[in-house]
């Protein structure tokens, strides 16, 4: 088979996809589905997490991911998603090895607790190390140096892609919306650290990549007050930091079952229960007063949720970002990821 790449979707040119969202909105699930969607048709995508939660492994029912790139899931059409759990301590050791050629001496640092200490007292350093790993993987090319112990061994049978990149895309399951701008704004994070030297140079390179059109930060939300508010605030904050905002993904959308004309009256609790009772009788269903009243309450509940969702969708629309909507899924296993990935592709993501 040739290295076939179909025309890219809405995110052509974006190589680093950073996924954030308020806790409980399905951020990790979306990151995984997004990676599967991008990996379809013979592409290679790295899916990375950086908060020590092992969320990816849990999602794919896999054993905990090490600090090394591993094959994780096959994507439709011979694509492959690789998984990686980035650990700040390991990343620091790797960094010391690469830039100071410390080799085993780095282990001494770990033994005396210096590595833990450094990552602890300087959260900025920690963030640079986490994003630094992502930076390296995003830019890694065939035939160039790669971190020997952590990079996946990928062979393409001599058919190196034209751009030479090992991964067609990298998807990062990033910290939640409330912390995302601070996390990505690595330049500011290390401003208090050594003013010159490799860490600062590294932070600058990472920042350049993050601010480039090669990067997009996607925000996951559900149609509820707080997650939507956080999404809007998050977009504004990212834009203030000149970090490119990608899509807004509305997760767990349920179909609206009430027709528009009924929605408004029902939301105000003005259901004609006599009419409802007559209808139930004509359909040969139990049609007592009590039953009609309770059904009307259910309609009011649904209508209020519907009205609120419409309003929140408008609020999200006003951010001007492309929007994808993913249906609520009743399947809880890995199959759900493939269903969501197919949905994302159908909506133009890849």
């Amino acid at each position: 088979m040739s290295v076939h790449r179909r025309p890219a979707g809405d995110w052509e040119g974006v190589r680093l996809h950073i996924v954030t969202g308020k806790g409980g909105t399905g951020k990790t699930t979306l990151a995984a589905a997004w990676a599967l969607a991008l990996a379809s048709d013979g592409r290679r995508v790295l899916l990375a997490e950086c908060e020590g939660r092992q969320g990816i492994a849990k999602l794919f029912d896999a054993p905990p991911l090490p600090y090394a790139e591993r094959k994780l899931a096959v994507a439709p059409g011979e694509g492959m998603v690789y998984g990686l759990a980035i650990d700040p301590e390991q990343a620091l050791l790797e960094y010391l090895e690469m830039y100071y050629h410390l080799g085993r001496a780095g282990r001494v640092l770990q033994r005396v607790g210096a590595v833990d200490f450094a990552a602890t007292i300087a959260p900025g350093l920690r963030d640079v190390l986490l994003t630094g790993k992502v930076y390296e993987a995003t830019r890694r090319r065939f035939g160039e140096h790669r971190p020997a112990r952590t990079a996946a061994r990928i062979s393409v049978d001599g058919k190196t892609p034209a751009d030479g990149y090992v991964y067609d895309a990298v998807v990062l399951d990033a910290p939640p919306t409330g912390r995302i701008a601070r996390f990505l704004n690595v330049n500011a994070a290390v401003a208090d650290l050594a003013r010159v030297g490799p860490i600062n140079r590294q932070a600058e390179s990472i920042m350049t990549l993050i601010r480039s059109p090669m990067t997009a930060v996607h925000l996951v939300t559900v149609l509820e007050e707080m997650p939507v508010q956080e999404t809007v605030d998050g977009i504004a904050e990212l834009q203030r930091h000149r970090i490119p905002v990608g899509a807004v993904v509305v997760n767990r959308v349920r179909p609206e079952v009430l027709p528009s004309d009924l929605l408004r009256t029902a939301a105000r609790g003005r259901i004609d229960t006599a009419c409802l009772q007559r209808g139930l009788t004509k359909l040969a269903l139990p049609a007592g007063e009590e039953i009609a009243a309770r059904l009307a309450e259910e309609m009011t509940d649904a209508a209020r949720i519907g009205v609120r969702q419409r309003r929140l969708r408008t609020v999200l629309g006003e951010t001007g970002r492309p929007m994808y909507q993913l249906p609520e899924s009743d399947v809880d296993d890995i199959a759900r990821l493939y269903v969501l990935a197919a949905e994302l592709r159908a909506q133009g993501v890849a």
Binding site: K58, D116, L193, L283
Partner: protein, 383 residues
């Protein structure tokens, strides 16, 4: 409710919040499950039952502060107006920096305190250190308990990055402040030495020089100054954290794990439950929030769907109305069915953990009336 599951112990929240022996209720759970709402509703209901209650929240939604009618949440318990009965409800939001500052001020001389407060490393430690928030929440909890002003403290735990953060972070911070490397930093540099000491010294030089390259000399010297100034307080900090941790193990404390019937939330809730049990912390039970339930048991999902299909495109306005109602009903039952199946699995995994359900609210809760209604549902329980 019907179902193939054997009777499952029911969590009686009402009994819990009325129990005079219970002085602390800790609400934990993953983000987005309504943890803060549960904490506020429990607090309100206990207060309206006559108790003197304070709700300690870490990161409330603006709407929650509004719902309690408190404009400002500023590290001091503020009375909530509009409470019915003789009880009291106070609300406060943790300001971790101010809490840390107060500890420093209370435990060192004014000169030393000023030194510490001005130290750049202290400033970042007290405002953005991973674990400081949890540590200070523990500290505040200890203070509120010691004040004797309240007979019930309800804690809304920080939105945890992982399920275990709230329990582990205080120990982690104590370990750090007390740790091996910090002591290494404090070793005065000597220029002479023989044998082993010389080797050790060379090793130290290597470590220090690498750290300096990585972190910069300025930060390291800030840390050194800070540690030297804080030295006298270390023991005190550790003791306090340990005392609060012990407090959490007494029968006067009850942990509520809050979840919603979503796969991710349930997974996290399982985590919490297992961890609390293995740590022998007093787990009261699980609040399963946002459940969909049927208000019309007389009409089944199958009946509703069939009738809704039969009524599609009906010209008769009565039938059209009934059809719309039945489609809503069918969707609701379908969701309820999926949730019930998920819950059945959760119950089988934790057969002895008491559980109570709260139905999903169509409206956002943003005032005392909303919290009161929520509290009533919580006390009644749908499971």
């Amino acid at each position: 409710m019907t179902g193939p599951v054997a009777p499952h112990p029911r969590l009686d929240v009402e009994a819990l919040l009325l129990d005079p022996r219970v002085h602390i209720i800790v609400c934990c759970g993953s983000g987005g499950v309504g943890k803060t709402t549960v904490a506020a509703a429990v607090g309100l209901r206990a207060a309206e039952s006559g108790r003197r209650v304070v709700v300690l929240t870490i990161d409330p939604a603006r709407r929650l502060a509004q719902s309690l009618g408190v404009r400002e949440l500023d590290n001091t318990p503020r009375p909530v107006a509009g409470i019915r009965g003789r009880g009291e409800l106070h609300a406060m939001m943790l300001d971790m920096k101010r809490t840390f500052d107060e500890i420093v001020e209370a435990h060192s001389s004014p000169v030393r305190a000023a030194q510490i407060l001005a130290n750049p490393f202290y400033q970042s430690l007290s405002s953005s250190f991973a674990g400081t928030q949890e540590y200070m929440a523990m500290e505040k909890l200890g203070q509120l308990k010691a004040s004797g002003r309240f007979d019930l403290i309800v804690v809304d735990t920080p939105p945890a990055r992982s399920a275990l953060d709230f329990l582990d972070a205080p120990a982690r911070l104590a370990r750090f402040l007390d740790g091996r490397f910090i002591r290494t930093l404090l070793v005065p540099t000597r220029t002479t030495g023989h044998g082993y000491f010389r080797v050790l010294h060379a090793g130290l030089n290597f470590v220090t020089s690498t750290m300096t390259k990585l972190l910069g000399a300025a930060l390291l010297s800030d840390v050194q100054t800070f540690v030297a100034a804080m030295d006298a307080m270390f023991g005190g900090l550790r003791e306090r954290a340990e005392a609060t941790a012990r407090l959490l193990r007494t029968p006067g404390t009850a942990f509520l794990v809050v979840s919603s019937p979503e796969p991710d939330a349930l997974r996290e809730a399982s985590y919490f439950v297992e961890r609390l049990i293995s740590d022998e912390l007093p787990l009261a039970g699980v609040v399963m929030n946002r459940l969909h339930t049927s208000r019309v048991p007389a009409i089944s999902a199958a009946q509703a769907l069939a009738a809704a299909e039969a009524s599609a495109d009906a010209a008769d306005p009565d039938v059209a109305m009934a059809g719309a109602a039945l489609r809503v009903h069918a969707q609701r039952l379908q969701i309820a069915g999926v949730e019930r199946a998920r819950l059945a699995g959760f119950r089988l995994a934790h057969p002895r953990v008491p559980l109570v359900g709260v139905p999903v609210f169509a409206d956002d809760i943003h005032n005392l009336a909303g919290l009161r209604a929520f509290g009533a549902e919580l006390a009644a329980g749908t499971l």
